[in-house]
Structure formats: C-alpha cells, structure tokens
C-alpha cells in the first residue's frame, strides 16, 4: 500500500508518525466503556418503543408491569408532564417528545421507561405494558409529506398546518443564475437522492445517571461528543445548576455524529435516578440504535449545472431535507441547512443558487450524523455528481473539466457565490498528484481496451472542498453557545505537562495528536504530556468534537495555550539567566541568550524554577501554565482529489472497487499516520454508503433496516488497498496551519465511486446516474434502463 509522507519534515519531538498513545489500553482490552461501568445499587432502564410510525395513543396500562417483582417504576409521558419534561428542546430550536403522550410519530419512538433491578427484568416488563394505539396514515416520503392531503405530523405545534419544518432557506443569487444558465453551452439537470443512512457506531448509545439526593449533585456517565454542551442543555432542560452536573464520557466506541444529540433515553435515565434516588443505567440495543437515533442525510436534491467554453459556470439546486418527525439537527443557529453553501464546490463559478425546504415525515429524527448536520456531504455529493454527469454528456475527461474550472491558487482567499471565504488551496496540484499516483492516462487506455471486449471498467473522479472547524463566534452558535473551545495547560515542576481540552475523542486519537501539538510548541516529549478530556469537572468549556472541528478549533486552542506557557517560561528564564526577556531566543525546548547559545534554560529547568523557592522576576507569579479559549477567525477549507476504479460484472451487475486513490490536502499534518487512519476509515464508510448502506421504510413507515442483517456495513473484503497521497497547503489563519481531516474521506468517496460506476455504464448502457446504494439489484435495474430512487 502506498502511504503518505508528510510534507513537513518529521522532527524528534512534536509532529510525526508516533504511535497512538491511547492504543496501549485499547489493544489490551482495557478501554473503559459505558457498559463496563457498574455503580453500587445501580438499577436498569429499558425503553418501550412504538410499533407504529403514526398512531394516536388511546391508553397506556402499566399495572401488570409494575406488578413484576423486580420492577420499581414505569415512567410515561404523564409522569414527565408533572415534571415539565414530557417534551425537550432539540438543538435546532424544535421540540421533541421525551416519551410520547398524545401520539407516536415514528416507528421506534419512546413511549415508556421501565426501571428494574436488572436489565433482563426491565426488558421482560416491557411486554407487560399495554398500549392501545389508534393507527393513523403515515408518510415516509419527503415529497408526499408536502402534498396537501398528507397527514399532519406535528399537530402538537401551535399554528402548524403542514409538514414544513422551517421556512424556505436560500443562498446565492437566483437571477444571476438564470442568466448564466441561459447563456451556457450545455445544461445538465439531475434529480438525486442522498439516501438516509446511519453511522452505526460499534458502541450504541446509553447513560448512567446518578443523582445524589443529599447534595443535589448529578453525575452522568455518557459517551457523547460534546460533554460541556450537553451539560448546559441538561441544566436548562431540568432547571438544575450547571456546576452541579458532571458528565464523564470515558472511552467511546465510535460517534460519527450519532453521539451528538441528547436522546430521550438519557432524559429518562436522569428522571429515573431522581425518582428512585439510585443510579440508573440505560443502554440501547443495536436495533434501537439503528431505528431511533441520529441518522444521516435523507436529502432529495434537484440539481442543475452548466458550462460554457469548456468551463463550469453555474450550479443550482433545490433541496427537500427530510428531518423525520422532529428537527434535531445540530447545525449552528443561523444556518438551517448547515454549510450546504459549499455546493459551489472547488470551481470559480459565475453564478450559484440553492433553496432548501425542510419537511417532517414519520421517520426517526436526526439528520445529524456522519458529517454532522453541516450538510457538507450532501453538497459535495451533489456538485461532484453533477460535474461527473456533465463530463459524460460533454464527452470530456472528468479530471480535465475540473482542472479547467478550478479556483486558481492566486485567487485565495476566495469568496464563493454563496458568500463564504475559502482560505487556501492549490487544487490543480492536488488533482495532478492523484492522477500521478493513479497512472491516470494508463488507466484510461486500459478502459478503452476493455470496452472493446465488452468489459465494464469505470474511472471516477471527485474533487471536494470541505468546510470545517465551526466556527467564528460572530457567526456561529449552537443553542446560543458560541462555538469556541478552551484549553488549559499546566507544566508541572517535573517537566511533565497536562493539557485539558473540551474536544472529545471517539477514536480520533486526541490523546496523541494534542500531546504532539503541545510538544512541538514547548519542546516537551509527547510521552510526557497527558491529554485530559471527557470529564466536565476536569476540563474547560467548549463545544466538543464533530464537524471535523477538533484540530481547527481545539487544536488551535492547545497551540495558543502552549505559546502562552512558553511566553511565561521566557520571563522565568530571563530571571534565571539574569537577562531581559527580549534578549532571549527560543528553540524547541529551551530559551537561550541571543548570541550566546550555551547560556540557556531548558523547559525542564524553567518548570522547576516556576514552582521553586528561588525568587522570580518582580511582579511574576509562580507556576507554569497557559490558558486559551479559541474563537476561530474563519472556517478552514481542506480539499482532496479522489480517483476510484471499478469493475462492473456485466452478468450480475456486481460492483468491485478495484483501486482507490485519495490525495488529501488538510494543511499541516500533525501525525500523518493518524491522518491516514482517519482517511482510510472515511473511505471505507464511503464504500459502505455508495454500495450498500441505506435505511428504508415501507409505506406504513416500518423501518426495514433495523439490524445488522439488513443494515450492511462494509468489510475489509469490499475495500481495496487504499492508495493515499498528500499535498500540504497550510491554513493561513490557524496557529499551526492545520485544517482538519476527520470527515474529508466520507465526503469525497461516495461521489467518486458513483462517478466510476456511471463512467463504466454510460457508453454501453446509457446510465448517467444511479441513486445510492449501488447494490447489485439497483445497478442491474439501471442497466436495464429502469433505475429507481431508493424507497
């Protein structure tokens, strides 16, 4: 397998391919996950869920369940109403039922919560609860939800008379777009669906709530991606003082956005602990996770693209966003469609326009996972699929068409047609690097030969520009919380350091990457730097990890905090060396006297002095610390060029991804090995989404993919040996030039794969588009001229 080499020189301390510090515990099976935790006297909760997608609740009879010898409580909406907790706010200023009281609005919705002495009894008792439902017609198709006679889903909301979830949202200039499209040489129009899928983290969601009736202290054990923000939400929802809530995440077995929301089960566990005075554990099973928690995508997109003189000149799109029964996306308040603005892609367009309609359907809420609610995945898929089809119809090479249309390096910072400022990039260089690794011309020759023989080989290109690192506080907040992140650094007198951060790893290896950032800034070996996170009592405030924001925001915070400690070290060193701070120069690990490099104080010596008995320079207090709350001046814009080679079996329509070349430019790479890992994981996710993953429903709203037998995630056998490469265009406004990479590959890979399959089938079968997932049956239908959107 070809792997990346970092463009920055690897140094003995700081940046470089060091092994992940956290892996020692993981590979020994010593990770500590939620379900490993057992508290004394702990009770167990289980959620009763609706079998119907849409039904009135006539009555709920709990007496038989309460008669179960091991059951302590059964909580329903009625009980929650008395506490004012029957409904909770979502992160998008919508409301969501904690337990359904009036009616159920999706299959799998929470109806009752049983608390028992053990987990088995809690589950058994669910069957003893009798709920009488009066089924209502359900609507699971976003278009049909907009029809006049569609059943009204959110009759709980005052004044709601249709299934629109928010006002129409627009960006760009429609009139300008009209004109550019009218003057174009060619226009391609395409209706496409980014189907509903699910991140399916290995560890499902759950919580232990432990309310101390004596002190009023509420301890929560809960693997979530934004513990500090969650604490604020609980404080607001339950009216508890924020400082009396402590959230401990421990290790998290995957998040992918699925662990961003506050789920009804969490609130039930908290209520359960309050009413029983004991710790209550609730852990959902796999089907509950797939059927009720944060899904991803579900965007119906009607896109158009045009070109003139061989260059792409305009893109426009009308979107229907399917939110399910409650809008629980987690985008910054001012951006109801997240950062969908980036549908302008990597091209120097003359015009662009989009409109997004959001609707309610009788499906689980979410739209938050797998590249978050920021909707970048959908935007990138849209534009790259449109460019792919445009190239087929223009009969030009997809890589050439892109390179003719790119924003040029000298145009950065570049303001796009939806008003966003791209920070930096050298797109053609990145594209050419991918073509070099692929042996692009040779691949095209091979394809031509195979075509002659009736073999179906396809080469798919995708070039994406990401937008991550949310975000500048003047523009962005989540539920009124500014999107900054704190970092507290303390260098101890033994020269070891502890960095506390508000970002929350779910596998991304923050314990290593963040130690490397501090190491680079202070010249302390990363082995001597402990990174602390996942405990609100031991970390500063900040908004957590999603939207690839850890390195752009929290990482910047860590660098700034380290620089502040370094500045203080300089003052201390000046005292030690009996000179003035201005006369000192820094090199990794020590301050030395300019012109006399032998005369120096190492960071170890300075740390000892900071806490020692010798006097410090006048006015200086002891200790060696640095703090920062980083408010990013802009978002960062990573990019990448992906090339995918597929073979389609002409007889069975099976797609094999034979090669995948991914060249990512995420700015400065802190640990290139960890970056590679993020990319490989994202590429595998892309294979899953493009070829097999989908959550579908029947007409009655029954979820058809509620287990791992029906929700397929890819295995190593579907993944080729990834061929990775890199270009490095530093971010101009980030302290160390890094841009973030967590979700790049998940974004860039699906369009590359679909483009490849269409490239294989266009000339022979006239197939210019197939909606994902490209499973054998759907590809075969397309080859017969009967392509259909997923149900």
């Amino acid at each position: 397998m070809a792997t990346t080499t970092a463009a920055s020189p690897e140094t003995p301390i700081g940046y470089g391919r060091m092994k992940r510090k956290e892996d020692a515990r993981f590979i020994r099976g010593q990770g500590k996950y939620l379900d490993d935790i057992v508290l004394p006297g702990m009770l167990h909760g289980a959620v009763l869920r609706s079998p119907y997608a849409h039904a009135k609740i006539v009555s709920i009879e709990t007496s038989a369940a309460l008669a179960h010898p091991k059951v302590l409580r059964v909580i329903t909406a009625k009980d929650l109403e008395t506490l004012g907790l029957a409904w909770m706010p979502t992160i998008s200023y919508d409301s969501q039922a904690v337990l359904a009281g009036d009616k159920v609005r999706f299959q799998g919705q929470e109806v009752a919560f049983v608390i028992a002495e053990d987990r088995y009894s809690a589950r058994d008792a669910l069957e003893l609860i009798e709920v009488e439902y009066e089924p209502l017609p359900a609507v699971v198709n976003a278009r049909k939800a907009l029809e006049a006679d569609a059943p009204l889903i959110r009759d709980d909301k005052d004044g709601q008379t249709d299934n629109l979830a928010s006002p129409l949202w627009e960006a760009g200039d429609a009139e300008e777009a009209d004109q550019v499209f009218a003057e174009a040489d060619i226009v391609v129009e395409r209706e496409m669906i980014y189907p509903r899928c699910h991140p399916a983290p290995l560890e499902t969601c759950g919580m232990i709530a432990d309310m101390n009736p004596e002190t009023g202290q509420l301890d929560l054990y809960n693997g979530n991606q934004a513990p500090n923000a969650h604490r604020t939400v609980y404080a607001q929802v339950a009216g508890l003082p924020e400082h009396m809530i402590r959230i401990m995440t421990n290790d998290i077995g995957g998040g992918f956005g699925n662990k961003v929301p506050v789920y009804p089960g969490y609130v039930c566990a908290i209520v359960g602990s309050i009413v029983t005075g004991k710790p209550v554990k609730w852990v959902e099973d796999r089907s509950e996770n797939l059927m009720s928690t944060g899904f991803a995508r579900d965007y119906v997109m009607h896109g158009r693209i045009c070109a003139k003189h061989g260059r792409i000149t305009g893109v426009r799109v009308d979107v229907i966003a399917d939110h399910g029964a409650f809008d629980s996306t987690a985008q910054p308040s001012k951006f109801p469609a997240g950062f969908f603005h980036i549908f302008t892609g990597s091209y120097d367009l003359e015009a662009a326009h989009c409109s997004v309609k959001a609707v309610y359907t009788n499906k689980a809420p979410g739209g938050v996972a797998y590249r978050c609610s920021f909707r970048v995945t959908e935007a990138i898929y849209l534009v790259e699929r449109l460019v792919g089809e445009l190239a087929l119809k223009m009969e030009v090479d997809g890589a050439e068409l892109r390179m003719n249309s790119f924003i040029r390096p000298e145009q950065f910072p570049y303001e796009n047609k939806t008003g966003w400022t791209y920070d930096s990039g050298d797109y053609e260089k990145t594209m050419r690097e991918a073509m070099r690794i692929a042996g692009y011309d040779e691949l095209r020759r091979e394809q031509a030969e195979k075509r002659e023989r009736g073999e179906l080989m396809g080469i798919g290109v995708a070039f994406f520009t990401e937008v991550v690192g949310a975000g500048p506080r003047r523009h962005m907040d989540i539920l009124g919380l500014g999107m900054a992140d704190g970092a507290d650094l303390r260098v101890h007198d033994d020269g070891r350091a502890v960095l506390s951060i508000s970002a929350q790893t779910q596998g991304q290896a923050h314990e290593t990457t963040f130690a490397q950032i501090v190491a680079e800034e202070l010249g302390i070996s990363p082995d001597k730097i402990e990174v602390r996170h996942g405990d609100t009592d031991r970390t500063p405030f900040g908004l957590g990890t999603y939207g690839s924001r850890s390195t752009p925001v929290s990482g910047a915070s860590a660098a700034v905090a380290a620089r502040r400690a370094r500045d203080k070290a300089r003052l201390i060193a000046a005292g030690m060396l009996e000179t003035s701070p201005e006369d000192l120069a820094w090199e990794k690990g020590r301050w030395y006297v300019k012109g006399d490099p032998e005369k120096a104080a190492t960071i170890d010596e300075i740390a000892a002095a900071a806490y020692g008995e010798a006097p410090l320079p006048e006015g200086l207090e002891g200790g060696l610390e640095g703090q920062s709350v980083y408010d990013p001046p802009n978002l960062t814009y990573p990019c990448g060029a992906y090339i995918c080679v597929v073979d389609v079996d002409p007889g069975t329509a099976e797609v094999e991804v034979r090669r995948f070349i991914a060249v990512d430019d995420c700015g400065v790479r802190i640990n290139p090995m960890i970056v590679d890992g993020q990319i490989m994981g994202g590429l595998a996710e892309g294979v899953g989404i493009a070829l097999m993953e989908v959550i579908t429903f029947d007409e009655q709203g029954n979820c058809l993919n509620g287990s791992m037998m029906d929700y397929l995630i890819p295995t190593a056998l579907e993944c080729p040996d990834w061929e990775l490469g890199a270009t490095v265009t530093p971010c101009p406004h980030h302290p160390i030039g890094a841009k973030g990479v967590g979700e790049s590959a998940t974004n860039g890979s699906p369009p590359a794969i679909v483009n490849a399959v269409c490239d294989a089938l266009y000339r022979s079968h006239g197939v210019a588009h197939i909606d994902m997932p490209l499973n054998p049956a759907r590809v075969w239908a397309a080859m017969q001229g009967r392509a259909e959107p997923p149900q």
């Binding site: 329509a653 070829l691 097999m692 397929l712 295995t715 056998l717 579907e718 499973n775 054998p776 049956a777």
Partner: protein, 268 residues
C-alpha cells in the same frame, strides 16, 4: 438442539425461537469427520464449515464445497457452524442444502428406532422443516462418488458474509463428451431449496455447450419462485438464477473435463 448455534442463537435473540430446553450436541465429537467409504464421501453432521473448506478429499471430488464455503458467512461463523445444523435449519437461502441436492446426496437420520437414509429430495419438507422427527438426530451426509464428476457453486451476495441474493449449485457427470447425469439446485429463490429437475432433465444425454447451459439457465429461472426483499426484486433474482446457472454449469463442465480439481482453500 444446538450444534454451532449460528442459526439457533440468532433466532432466540430475535425471539423467533423460545425453547425451554436446549440440548448441546457439541460433545458428540465422533460426528465430525469427512471420509471415503463404499464409493461415497461421508460427512459427519457435526463437521464444521471450516473443515469442509479445508478438506482434501472434498476438494478432490467435489470442489463445489470449497466454492460455497468460501462465501458462507465469515470465519467466525465457519469455525463453529456445522453442516448438520445447516441442513437441519432448512433455510431456503442456505447454501449447503443446494450443494447436497446438486450432488444427489442422502442423509442419515438416527433415532431410538435406529437409522434411516433419506434422499435430499425427501429431506426438505418445507420452509424450515425437514424429515427429522422430534426424537431424531441428523448424523451423516452421504454423497455418491461417480466417474466424470465436476461441480461448482456460484453466488451473488450484497456484501461478504451476507446471505445469497441467489446462489446456484451445479453438478455434472460426464461420460466422454456426454452429460451422463446432472444436478442443479438453487438457494434463496423459493420457500425452500429449489431443485431444478426440469433443467437437469434437459441436460442429461446432451453435449455440454454454452447454448445448452443458457437454455438450462432459462428453465431454472422460470422454475424458481423468488420473492422481492431487501436483496432485490423478482426480475433481478430470476435473471441471476439464469446467469448463475450458466456460470456454475460452465465451471462444473471445465472441472469434469480437467478430471482434477484445484486444491482446497485454507483461508478461515
């Protein structure tokens, strides 16, 4: 009764099976074997998938087993799941039932009253039901070894480790350039394993050719009765039934002509 547990335990987890008593037969170690005896290959019911995959005599006589085993579930399931459990489960999508049908196998069922031998034809009574009575145990599978044999299994799945969208097991016994006998059975296209007798009829006595196999495929495609589900619609499944029949027979004929067969696959 529990053998490998890879069918029973999932059914229990999904509450589709609620047995009050489970009898573990894993200690019957003498039921795990593959041997040649009386012009037959005899396979003990407790033989695990991986043993079928790695077996030298099977690779020599019936490479169809390695074809199928390579794509049955994943190594974890194959290390534990048994051929007896597979056949007794009688799931229409199951692969080994089709393999055994195509090879004209019979099974030995033992009970208090002794043993009886039942042909694969009579073994599958319906969906998830077999000729095994309550107080009986499937103990052995017997496959006749005949000259000129070639066999192959072809399967399309949505993903490695998934059950078949459609799978076809084909066996041919050549006498010179004539098909002396043919066996053809399909998985996942009916309520139980579909034994394509009409296609077998067509093949017998003819010379192997692409046209003949295509015709057999067309008949198999007509004679099966797939239902639409998450794996695909009926038309696609019928198409696959035809396409995979062709592929399995083509492979089987090549192997029969070659007389020898590729070595076993040792990947698990």
């Amino acid at each position: 009764m529990i053998a490998g547990g890879h069918s029973l335990l999932p059914m229990m987890k999904l509450r589709l099976a609620n047995p009050e008593l489970v009898v573990d037969i894993n200690d019957l170690e003498h039921l795990a074997y593959i041997r040649e005896q009386d012009s037959e290959i005899r396979i003990g019911a407790l033989t695990r998938h991986y043993q079928l995959l790695e077996s030298e005599p099977l690779a020599r006589h019936f490479p169809i087993f390695a074809d199928a085993e390579r794509v049955i579930a994943d190594p974890v399931v194959r290390n534990r799941g048994t051929i007896g459990g597979s056949l007794a489960q009688a799931d229409a999508a199951e692969d080994l039932s089709a393999v055994c049908s195509a090879l004209k196998a019979s099974v030995v069922i033992a009970g208090g009253g002794g043993e009886r031998v039942v042909s694969m034809e009579d073994f599958h009574v319906g969906p998830y039901t077999t000729a095994i009575d309550d107080a009986e145990l499937l103990v052995e599978i017997r496959i006749p070894v005949r000259p000129g044999a070639g066999s192959a299994h072809a399967k399309v799945e949505r993903r490695a480790g998934d059950w078949a969208i459609v799978a076809v097991a084909g066996g041919l016994w050549l006498d010179g350039e004539t098909i002396a006998d043919a066996g053809l059975a399909l998985s996942a296209v009916g309520l139980t394993t579909v034994h394509a007798t009409r296609a077998e009829e067509l093949l017998r006595g003819k010379r192997p050719s692409e046209e003949l196999f295509a015709e057999a495929g067309a008949i198999a495609s007509e004679d099966c009765s797939p239902s639409p589900d998450g794996r695909g619609p009926v038309d696609y499944k019928r198409h696959l039934a035809g396409e995979l029949t062709k592929r399995a027979l083509r492979r089987a004929a090549e192997r029969a002509r070659a007389g020898t067969t590729p070595g076993g696959h040792t990947w698990r």
